[in-house]
């Protein structure tokens, strides 16, 4: 293989058609306030877990909406369900319930205990 001093970059295209967005759909159906999230990051800013580890609820919510569930599944178990994020959300999203529902959906739809 010829070395040109540069390489092809990994594709960062998000394919909404190919991704499974059923988890996000389940959450929206049971907690409609999920749709109000504007990804401002207040939840992550106040998160105790996020303060000591790389955990970011904001990132998880974006990944859920995109249907990139593999990354969410590993991360979401770190949440301690303290609910501080719910208290600070400027859009009134019940983020604690979003996390609960995401875990429920993974368990019900993918038979994956979180």
């Amino acid at each position: 293989m010829e070395n040109f001093g540069f390489t092809l970059l990994k594709e960062r295209h998000i394919d909404f058609d190919a991704n499974d967005r059923s988890i996000a759909g389940y959450i929206s159906d049971h907690e409609p306030s999920f749709r109000l999230c504007i990804e401002c990051g207040c939840c992550s800013a106040t998160c105790t877990t996020g303060n000591f580890t790389p955990f970011s609820l904001r990132e998880l919510l974006i990944l859920l909406k995109r249907g990139e569930n593999d990354k969410v599944r590993e991360e979401i178990r770190k949440c301690m369900l303290c609910g501080k994020c719910t208290l600070v959300c400027p859009r009134g999203v019940n983020t604690r319930n979003v996390v609960m529902l995401a875990r429920e959906a993974f368990r019900k739809q993918m038979n994956y205990a979180v």
């Binding site: 293989m1 010829e2 001093g5 540069f6 390489t7 092809l8």
Partner: protein
């Protein structure tokens, strides 16, 4: 179907292209890498259509590559362009014909800047006068040379000796049309069909018997992006853009890529070579790469000119598979010979040979 309304809407997407008396400005990339293209354009306009096309030897680069690479400031490039307009005024021309899509984008951007910020125009007039003692007028009509070939596409079709049809199967060739982003994505009113329905190359392909391929990434950037290739380590950004397009067009089995921007042509041609060298990937049918031609080269082939006179051999991806499909006779031994028969050096690693 009622077409009156549609015709009216479509008429709003047209641009006025001058008919004669052009001040011609060359492209750095086109004249260096595809010299036959500009030669064909001048020959076609002057000798075939008998139009007046004037070229001034004092014309310089527009410095667009430096501008987009953050080396040349806006006030400097505006003064350089003002000097071009001054040369045009001195020669008595009002219609400008621009060979390069980067330059075309620069001219449109600067003219629009002057319209919205007249104080910038005033400053530019002052800079130019202080530096050179010249004065200038803004062109009355501005056309990219692909606009002009588009305007005269039916005249070319009338003189066609080869149509864009597979001679063996009788099927039209699948042609990818790639229009440079700076042609009409920035200022849509300056392009035929605007930014939404650019028809400048599609119109030529259809007039010359080919079939335009509508593939998902048709309007994606070619990957040229000045800052993406100026630094070697960054060229992966450029290559990745082109590969995204190539992967998207591959299932449609394209016979040819047609470009109006010299930069797009260079990168879509050379990145195919790079991908083949890197990991052996090719994007054409039958294990071949896809020839990438300029509209002048394609017009010349349609009109029956010798492919080697048009300079199609100066691309990395060679055009022989295309020439065979169309049924154009060529002399392989004369490929790299001068007009008086002297052998020129033969480039190494050409593909599709």
């Amino acid at each position: 179907m009622k077409t009156e309304g549609k015709k009216k809407i479509w008429s709003e997407y047209q641009k006025e292209i001058a008919d004669d008396h052009f001040f011609y400005v060359r492209s750095c990339i086109r004249q260096s890498f595809f010299p036959g293209s500009e030669q064909f354009f001048l020959h076609f306009m002057r000798n075939v259509l008998e139009k007046d096309v004037y070229e001034n030897p004092s014309h310089t680069t527009c410095t667009g590559i430096g501008y987009h690479g953050d080396i040349v400031p806006l006030s400097t490039i505006m003064t350089v362009v003002a000097r071009h307009f001054a040369l045009m005024k001195e020669a008595g021309y009002k219609n400008i014909a621009i060979s390069c899509v980067t330059s075309f984008g620069i001219y449109t951007e600067i003219i629009e800047t002057w319209k919205h910020y007249p104080e910038e125009l005033k400053k530019t007039r002052e800079y130019l006068f202080k530096a050179t003692g010249r004065e200038f007028d803004i062109p009355e009509n501005m056309a990219h040379t692909s606009d002009i070939i588009y305007k005269f596409r039916n005249e070319i079709a009338a003189k066609a000796k080869n149509l864009l049809v597979n001679k063996k199967t009788g099927e039209p060739l699948n042609v990818i049309e790639h229009i440079g982003c700076h042609y009409s994505k920035m200022f849509p009113k300056y392009g035929v069909g605007g930014a939404e329905f650019p028809n400048v190359l599609g119109g030529m392909i259809e007039a010359w018997g080919g079939r335009v391929v509508d593939y998902p990434e048709r309007r994606h950037c070619c990957g040229f992006g000045f800052r993406q290739y100026l630094v070697q380590a960054n060229r992966g950004y450029s290559l990745s853009n082109s590969v995204k397009k190539f992967n998207s067009m591959k299932p449609y089995k394209p016979d040819l890529i047609l470009t109006n921007c010299p930069g797009c042509n260079m990168f879509m041609d050379k990145w195919q070579y790079t991908m083949k060298e890197m990991d052996g990937t090719v994007y054409g049918d039958n294990g071949e790469s896809i020839p990438v031609l300029t509209y002048e080269e394609l017009a010349g082939l349609v009109m029956g000119y010798n492919p080697w006179d048009l300079g199609v051999q100066y691309h990395m991806v060679q055009s022989e598979p295309l020439l065979r499909k169309i049924g154009i006779d060529y002399e392989p031994d004369n490929k790299f010979k001068t007009k008086d028969g002297r052998q020129m050096p033969v480039p190494k690693n050409l593909i599709n040979v």
